[in-house]
């Protein structure tokens, strides 16, 4: 039996090494399944909770153009959540269980959404930095070894590009605006920069699961590799916005061919992960309330579907 298991695992690894995707009904190690369920469902939760900070500004968007774009973006986030929940379901977890894990606080979502959106410029900064960091993370996931996850990510990435561009455009407008608007822009970047840097997760040295995820090709780059790419890209983009990244230690390193950057405050990161961020409670309360307030809609829709079905059967009997 032991022998049999290890040969299954060897076959599985050989497929991964040959870049052959794993599909739902294929044999996979338990740990691979569990890792993916955790990662995909957390990713889905992040998309769903991610609607909340932005929803805050839908009714106060400064123009109709901005409003329709923000609405479309928030709708996309809901769609991304749904693609991802359905990918997770192919691994044998059902939707209600995932919702329950989110609402009970058992499951995590990206900590970035536990920060408040206090000005319109934040909507721009989220698009530029938060979606920018998300894209850095997500593009390699399009080549993830698990087929349904990879396919969901292809759709997500195609749509995410509009999100980032609309954010950048908001900031670009502010950068050409009044001194007060320029201050708003700088203030938003100051507040969102470090939390965005933390989105890539703990440093490689403190990320014990990375090695296995790389071996299984769930991950293609380490947290620090992706973070470095992000810094390199943002530093250049910030010049167009005429804005300063709030890190006095950022400077070009000729030897490495990358920008060096300052120390990240991991104490803050772990505090927010543990539930002590500025908006953790508010986000979860809002999610739970939406779920509970929607209960009657779910029940009514089921009752209506049953009624229609019964009527159909009766009619076919009469006929």
């Amino acid at each position: 039996m032991e022998n049999n298991y290890s040969s299954l695992e060897e076959k599985f690894q050989a497929k991964i090494d040959a870049e052959i995707k794993i599909e739902p009904k294929d044999w996979m190690p338990d740990k691979y399944r569990k890792t993916l369920i955790r990662q995909i469902s957390q990713h889905a939760h992040s998309e769903i909770v991610g609607m909340l900070p932005e929803g805050n500004w839908v009714s106060r968007a400064p123009s109709l153009r901005r409003k329709v774009a923000l609405l479309a973006k928030v709708q996309d986030e809901a769609g991304h959540g749904l693609y991802l929940y359905s990918a997770a379901e192919t691994l044998g977890i059902d939707r209600d269980t995932m919702y329950e894990q989110l609402h009970s606080g058992k499951a995590k979502y990206s900590s970035i959404f536990n920060y408040p959106t206090t000005s319109w410029a934040d909507i721009g900064a989220i698009g530029w930095l938060v979606d920018g960091a998300a894209i850095m993370n997500q593009v390699p996931l399009c080549r993830c070894s698990y087929g349904p996850y990879a396919r969901a990510m292809v759709r997500v990435c195609k749509e995410e590009s509009f999100h980032q561009r609309q954010g950048f455009e908001i900031l670009l407008n502010l950068s050409k605006g009044t001194p007060e608007q320029q201050r708003m822009l700088q203030d938003a970047v100051n507040r969102w920069w470090w939390p965005s840097m933390m989105m890539f997760g703990p440093p490689d040295a403190d990320s014990p699961n990375t090695a296995l995820s790389m071996k299984w090709r769930i991950k293609r780059f380490t947290n620090d590799e992706l973070r470095q790419k992000f810094v390199d890209v943002c530093y250049e983009q910030a010049k167009t916005l005429n804005v300063t990244l709030p890190d006095p230690d950022i400077k070009w390193n000729e030897d490495r061919g990358h920008y060096d950057y300052g120390e990240i405050d991991w104490t803050e990161f772990w505090q927010v992960v543990k539930g002590n961020g500025p908006c953790n409670k508010q986000r979860l309360d809002t999610r739970r309330k939406a779920w509970e307030d929607g209960a009657w809609v779910r029940e009514a829709a089921l009752a209506y579907a049953e009624k229609k079905q019964t009527r159909k059967i009766q009619q076919s009997k009469v006929a």
Partner: protein, 94 residues
Amino acid sequence: MNSNWPLWEIFVRSKQGLSHKHVGSLHATDEEMAIQNARDVYTRRNEGISIWVVESKHITASNPDEGESLYDPANDKVYRHPTFYNLPDEVKHI
């Protein structure tokens, strides 16, 4: 809290002349709602002109573990491919 609506598999025809392709799944109470939800989830950017929905439980799939024996009969039938037949180079349009 068992409110789980049935799961549906969604197939989208992206344009006239192509076949429907599986794009993912979603939950809905019945086929009508499944089509409406599929429109919102999978065709927000004109990805489709026709949608099929099938309740997931109605799909029977082949077992990947039996893949070898299932497809084995085709493996040794090279004569099913045009290149199996030897023709001189001067024969054209064939």
